[in-house]
Symmetry: C2
């Protein structure tokens, strides 16, 4: 399982992912699901991947190959030189569709699932911060003011806090706290979502990362969030009125 | 969809269910999912049903028929005269298996699901408070000290608060608050779970209900819980430390 969450507020973009993958309960490994791309001062992009790992790694390899090839032949279009974030989503979607066309049938014949999804968060100079969700078929949707966040993977445990907190006016600081609380609830309830975490923050019109860090299991700030939230829930619960006579 | 939750603590049993059923998003109705059985001073039992409605109604009809027939022939075994709560679970499980044997194949041929599950909470004089979960196959499990609550239906949104609060030492008052908070989180996040709610509380060694009530959408106490919890979460969130520099 996986839990990835991405938030788009007026002040920018916040992305958080776990690192646990599993093929059955007895086959658990750690893989990065968050990947960053930077052209300093021009564009900053984070991809968050979930679903069949061979598919999402294949998509990433396709994107990387194009970036490498474009160094020799600048006419090759890549997510680092294309004209818009919308075009980035199309390029990722095309790579996804190519991987699905190539492998889906044989993966499913083997009894596994080939589904995958990728979130794309970023901004390029001249455009606005954008957040897209690319599906297995290569089609995609964009986050809007009505739905300022996307989740992929094990989304239910961590959704209530996002529903309550996140609006377009939420500060980057609060959006970061909210995704950490959301992840904390998910970690507590689903064993197949696990530390460490990868956090990235892209402030609006900075075209760079403010945060691009791995949060390890012994991270003190995350422990403060986790314990503080536990204590707040317990205190809040105690303060609720008693409804039995 | 459905959300039912039942808790067994040392002080007794607390059960809560919603009343919304749906066959697709455009076919929503209200059905009671919580049913109580009382032999005053001897046993008190609550059943909570989820899954295919024709199956669970069929199980209930089977139980009721036996209770009616036993008035003429006391040798007929029913959930009201059988010797233990464990035997109650067997009787409910047998009725479930009979319904599944009769209808499952034809229901599934029609493209619908026949799965259903029923929670049984109660105590009879001479025994302890018991909580069982009966599956479609008629087999069942019992809540233990390690797992003092069961949920059926849309369980994820409402599970974190139960995980944090419920232990065998939890008071009936706190267990009741906890199931209401758990339901409130579920109502907010899943449209196919809806008011009104049915709440029952069976204190240990009382062999009667302390609470057996329907909570309507305009219930003031539930509104206080719901609003109080919202305010507590917001306050708790604001008080968390800021992790961005």
């Amino acid at each position: 399982m996986t839990y990835c969450v991405a938030v788009r507020v007026d002040q920018g973009l916040v992305m958080l992912s776990d690192t646990r993958t599993n093929a059955g309960m007895d086959n658990i490994a750690r893989f990065r699901k968050s990947f960053t791309y930077l052209v300093e001062g021009e564009r900053a992009i984070t991809l968050l991947c979930s679903g069949n790992l061979s598919i999402t790694q294949g998509v990433k390899a396709t994107l990387s190959k194009a970036i490498k090839d474009a160094k020799l032949d600048p006419d090759i279009e890549t997510i680092l030189n294309c004209s818009t974030m919308h075009r980035v989503a199309q390029i990722v979607g095309d790579a996804m569709r190519a991987m699905q066309t190539r492998y889906r049938e044989s993966i499913e014949m083997g009894g596994s699932g080939a589904s995958a999804s990728i979130m794309i968060a970023g901004q390029r100079r001249g455009g606005k911060p954008r957040l897209y969700l690319v599906y297995s078929a290569g089609n995609f949707i964009e986050a809007t003011e009505d739905t300022p966040f996307f989740q992929i993977g094990e989304h239910k445990y961590g959704k209530p806090i996002l529903d309550r907190i996140i609006t377009r006016d939420t500060t980057l600081e609060d959006a970061t706290k909210a995704v950490l609380v959301s992840m904390d609830s998910t970690l507590r309830s689903n064993l197949s979502v696990g530390m460490p975490l990868d956090l990235t923050v892209i402030p609006t019109d900075r075209f760079d990362f403010r945060v691009r860090t791995r949060i390890e299991a012994d991270n003190e700030e995350f422990a403060m969030i986790s314990q503080g939230w536990s204590a707040a829930l317990r205190k809040g619960f105690e303060d609720l009125p008693n409804v039995l006579d």
